[in-house]
Symmetry: C2
Subunit: 370 residues, 2 copies
Amino acid sequence: MVNRFELAKQELVATPALVVDLPTVERNLQRLHSYADQHGLKVRPHTKTHKSRRFARMQVEHGSVGLTVAKLGEAEVMGQESSDILIAYPAIDPDRRRRVAELARTHTVRVAVDSQYGVSVLAAAAEAAGTTIGILVDLNIGFPRTGVPTPAAALELAQQVVQAGKHLRLDGILIYPGHVWAPADQQEEILTQIDQKLAETIELWQAHGLSVDIVSGGSTPTAFQSHFVRSLTEIRPGTNIFNDMNTVRAGFCELDDCAAAVIATVVSTAVPGKCVIDAGNKTLTSDRNVLQPDSGHGHVVEYPQARIIRLSEEHGEIDFSGCDQTPQLGERVTIIPNHICPCVNLQDQFYLQTPEGIEKLNVDARGLLA
Amino acid sequence: MVNRFELAKQELVATPALVVDLPTVERNLQRLHSYADQHGLKVRPHTKTHKSRRFARMQVEHGSVGLTVAKLGEAEVMGQESSDILIAYPAIDPDRRRRVAELARTHTVRVAVDSQYGVSVLAAAAEAAGTTIGILVDLNIGFPRTGVPTPAAALELAQQVVQAGKHLRLDGILIYPGHVWAPADQQEEILTQIDQKLAETIELWQAHGLSVDIVSGGSTPTAFQSHFVRSLTEIRPGTNIFNDMNTVRAGFCELDDCAAAVIATVVSTAVPGKCVIDAGNKTLTSDRNVLQPDSGHGHVVEYPQARIIRLSEEHGEIDFSGCDQTPQLGERVTIIPNHICPCVNLQDQFYLQTPEGIEKLNVDARGLLA
């Protein structure tokens, strides 16, 4: 197998370092937008994966209608690349709601809300700022994290949005199918159930004179099966731009679709049968693989049979007992992480690999927790 | 129970935020230095826990003989607070060994080494810089990560250090008892075995005319049992300055000895029996508790029966089914993390709580992976 990260592996001054291969990013974006176009779906990608203005700009250039974020710090950064920002998060505490209302001065801003409290405080914040905030009612469709439980509860919250007055605008419904990690060919049944719950909710809203302009769904695992949820108007995949061992091991993409990798150096081989690299959980995170938690903390491209068995903060211990060869001290290896989003958040920069060479890029929205 | 983080909880503008209570830090440092003084041990604390010049300065003021780091970026930051830096890491790749040799121009610098390759390349780097690097031979005493396996192998490496010439200085032996997570009263047997292996190694070195000036050991779990390893001259605890739920649940300290906590806000209560806070694994890390992996992702001070059952990047889901009361939307809660070191690495700043008020402090060495 050709290691697409070979150039960066040769040229990097210091390790560990996160490399992103630009041609692979381009291919991933093209594939997503081609699917979305085919099914009449808009794309509003979640930028939590890359946290970077440069990749956000690429997404907009590929036809994304806006950008999705979780926290307000991210909203303010991504607002520099798009005038249309969805905060797919209950941004209802005093600091966030004030910043949402401020951002709405210059941007189309929408917030996912799942409480009457949220509706009230966002309305008050928008009134204080003299702005208008779009509201998507967060409907729980099976992933029990946020979201109102039933079509009736969604209707009640939607009516409260309308009653809250002119500083809120009822825009539609948001879902997050975070529980759908089945292989693509087994998703149809779960997605059809989601489709039914959404259809029931929309029918109820319409029967009460409420329109549903946006039905926002999707995630990377469900991205290419979004057409099974017929009422969706848009999808919000995040990981898709880079992919990782979670999406590979779940069968959503191939190893060659992984655009991001950590280059690390072997710094110890003193313990027989293993070696230690200079990337621990401060570089790769402690996240286990979602579907194969015992598969190790990432994939070693040069030694596919190797297993990253334990991470300390700065040490990654790799078991080479299944390999014909073992790396030498000082050798560099290429790791595809289990979960690329929090891994990106641990780096101050990307090393962008382009046909012209290696370029350094800031992770602009890294660590913006508020 | 009084919540020692109440002041910050009231006064913080935005959440999630990492608060450190200064009086608790002072007490933790006093306790450690009092134990060390009593047993004639020097303290060379590992600064990976706090990654901050201010706390490093406090450690030096309490009598630490130097500071310990893993990576070179940390060494360069902590070198501003102490002239004596131990790099307890195989810093042998081209970038690190060059920076080690440079730092040795102005500082007493020591590196833990476990390979002949490491000895050779560090000698060459020091020669190129015209400096001298101190070497501690890393001896594996049961935690199979780094370290030469036997007293004989340690002797062989020590002899290679001497033979490498005047740019290396053989300073002694380093151990890391990373496997010792037994309760304090059960550690004696394991530590006595370590004591024997060290005694054998030292005897062998001395029989070959090599002196052992430094025997560097310790970690937070073993810190207060260090006297069972009689040959130690110094200890390197890290977590001890702040403590966390790992040290609490292992019985190494009390909840009241935890100096650092994350203040978070409840942002959703839509799913019955649980609530969602605005701190996920981007704030708390995914690290499970070492001894009680099913105890949840940290301790909720205000609701001791609550359990943080799942973390997404920006959502922390808390199960309140065991509690008499549940928090309200918008309420703030105080979380003691499982593992404070990587949690600190996720924050750009601390909010330092002092008798005078809240002070903002940079995490100076955050994210310095190289």
